[in-house]
Symmetry: C2
Subunit: 70 residues, 2 copies
């Protein structure tokens, strides 16, 4: 990421819970490790665009719904 980019706000946990999915289930749908989902929810890092698109698709929302610029 570029120097001046600030961290994003994310609603992943909330939207995942609304969809009644566990981290495990979401990770399988999005074809990533559970660790990645877990780390994203906890703000350890922001996912790549590919991953963000897959998660949004799985949850039936837009990338913009999941992550917001500060």
């Amino acid at each position: 990421m570029g120097k001046n980019h600030k961290k994003l706000l994310n609603n992943l946990e909330e939207l995942r819970r609304s969809a009644n999915l566990t981290q495990q289930e979401l990770s399988e749908s999005a074809e990533v490790s559970r660790k990645s989902i877990n780390a994203i929810e906890n703000g350890i890092y922001v996912p790549s665009t590919v991953l963000a698109l897959k998660i949004a698709k799985t949850l039936g929302c837009k990338v913009e719904d999941l992550f917001k610029l500060p």
Copy 2:
């Protein structure tokens, strides 16, 4: 990017031209280097989510409009 992720299709150049912006101008709006914009347009790499959000915002569209899963 994760192992199994395929490259995205992208419409960046088309949308940038529609907005009448040069690579330089877009890069300034999105606070990244011109090389990054250039590399994304040419499929060298896919931007991070932060960058994708900034570009989409600058171009008045959604991340989903810019990049599509194969």
